[in-house]
Subunit: 336 residues, 2 copies
DNA sequence: TTGATTTAGGCAAACGTTTGCCTAACTTGT
DNA sequence: ACAAGTTAGGCAAACGTTTGCCTAAATCAA
């Protein structure tokens, strides 16, 4: 027979304990699977009460007592970027599968917002942080010094060290170089954002190094960059700088360090009547799923963003168990 | 593999109280701005201690005591869709400005996942829910019956009623109709997903109603749909169904109820050598910012997703204060 | 002066969990 | 039969806040 509850309060350990005629401590132990401490009959009685009352452990009480929540905060610079969104989605799924919930914060790539979020999250007993393309900031250094569990994604710890999930950026740049050379293109250029993060810089380096190693004279590798946060605009501006710097002519092959930058460059090409890809083969990095539908002109290095989440959770688990994990580099690929 | 250092505890009310030589209660009142209860000197002393120790209120303790967190859960069907990501970003920003944090859950449009999330969130003392394109489910009905604060976005409450933020979908469809008619196009079609949500169905209805009202014979308005979750694929499949149903000829004007569907249709057109927009003017709905860069052929009804967040927070506030807010319809626009 | 009111702030009980410690009642070993 | 060990489970103290209630002292009214 079921009781009609006077208040809409959810069942607590106390409710269950009363119903089962045992103490709160016993119920707590049983629902937490500490088996050795109770008789079979008691366990059965408690479990019955749990089911009947629909008891669900209260995470707030638990967090207070254990001084830990099952919450992980992700700080990402801008979810407008489909690559970031993909990372967020896959991380959220992996965390949830591991029994965590994810709080998402958009830092807009601003150090002050990153600081504010880091501080705010601390008082939520957040258990770990996933920092996508983190920037250097005071609260970040503090958090690292305190030994918080922090996984860096896509961009390495600006203070050096720390757990990292990403790809071999140099390798990705090198692959792009090989791809272009394999098509007999030797009039090459690369564009990138002026506020260089470690990852974009590494892509550029890898690209140039490989070209040089394969005998392309340095002076035939044009470079240009542009400031700004929107990779779309940066791509447009950098491409303009590149072309203007070359007396109005486009290179035959162009590496853009992200797909969004490639979209920006494409717009300029369209405006200037340059045919892509026949006059200029554009290579991006990210392999946005939209490319197949509306940007078939773009060749792009595939990054397995959908696999990032699982790796991030692995690294967090390592940190929680007290070890410092090795960097995790996922495989990229450029289908030819 | 090195061991991490144990972190020193953050300052609590007790720490501050000891430092300032007052009781915990007094500190609590002061940090909460209950001014009438303390002398000016005490307030000054406490504030000094707060600053010195870098005290930040612990949200977990507060949540436990007040039986409310400052957490809102957003359940969204798929963040891969840029429109969803835009809603998530703007809601997160608006909530944070109002002092809340947002937990993000990706339901993949599945009722069972939506149920699981709703139940899991309850024991986190989540204060409100933002349900983007919610589907009918048991836990949703339960939550509504319990009187939880729930705001529906983009798709109305499947059980009817409830707070809603969205656009005038019929109006958007009608605007698309006007746009096409203004260009003298009368050979028209519309494609939409087979699993019709209220919003896409309304867009189709508004489109057709307006066309009929302006004298287009019903038999000249072709329709097609396709099943599936990915609007990209749905657009492709539906366009194929449409064209096949018309003996291989494309309409002169085509409304796709989302931009992603338009991308899908575009791919088919490209494959079939149909020139967009000269042979077929495609109109989408969403106005994805990428369009200007890589899909200039697409005309799209602009939806102010960036304004959704503020409205969502308004509606949540209404719910929290006990009133039932009116539906909030934001203005859409189609720049001609 | 006295009684009434205000001011300033402390006490302690929640909120829901977890866990070290304690204690009865058994079970063994000898 | 008695000491030693095991089992089953209760007690109560945290964790960090908030808040109703209480109490001194100070102020005020008459």
């Amino acid at each position: 027979m079921t009781k009609r509850l006077a208040s809409p309060r959810a069942a607590s350990l106390a409710t269950v304990a009363r119903e089962a005629g045992v103490s709160v401590a016993t119920v707590s132990r049983i629902v937490n699977g500490k088996t050795g401490r109770a008789s079979v009959q008691t366990i059965a009685r408690v479990n019955a009460a749990v089911v009947e009352l629909g008891y669900q452990p209260n995470h707030v009480g638990r967090a207070l007592r254990r001084r830990e929540s099952r919450v992980v905060a992700m700080l990402a610079p801008n979810l407008d970027n489909p690559a970031m969104a993909a990372i967020a989605v896959s991380t959220e799924a992996a965390l949830r599968a591991a029994g965590y919930v994810m709080i998402l914060c958009d830092t807009h790539d601003r150090a002050d917002l990153q600081d504010e979020y880091l501080r705010a999250m601390r008082s939520q007993f957040v258990q770990g942080y996933v920092l996508v393309s983190a920037v250097k900031s005071a609260a970040l250094s503090d958090a690292l010094a305190r030994g918080e569990a922090i996984v860096f994604v896509s961009r390495r710890n600006p203070d050096g060290g720390g757990a990292y999930v990403g790809i071999d950026n140099r390798g990705a740049g090198a692959d792009a170089a090989d791809h272009l050379l394999a098509r007999g293109i030797e009039d090459l250029a690369v564009i990138y954002p002026a506020q260089g993060s470690s990852s974009t810089a590494e892509r550029v380096d890898g690209f140039i190094e490989r070209l040089v190693a394969r005998g392309v004279p340095t002076e035939r590798i044009a470079q240009a960059s542009a400031p700004g946060l929107s990779h779309l605009q940066v791509g447009y501006d950098a491409a303009r700088a590149l072309v203007d710097g070359a007396g109005g002519t486009w290179p035959r092959g162009l590496l853009c360090v992200s797909d969004l930058m490639a979209y920006g460059a494409y717009r300029l090409a369209t405006e200037q009547g340059v045919a892509i890809p026949s006059e200029c083969l554009v290579v991006g990095i990210d392999a946005n799923p939209l490319n197949a539908w509306i940007a078939p002109w773009l060749t792009s290095v595939h990054i397995p963003y959908r696999d990032f989440g699982a790796k991030v959770v692995e690294q967090l688990s390592s940190l929680w168990s007290g070890t410092v994990p090795d960097d995790c580099l996922l495989p990229h690929s450029l289908d030819s």
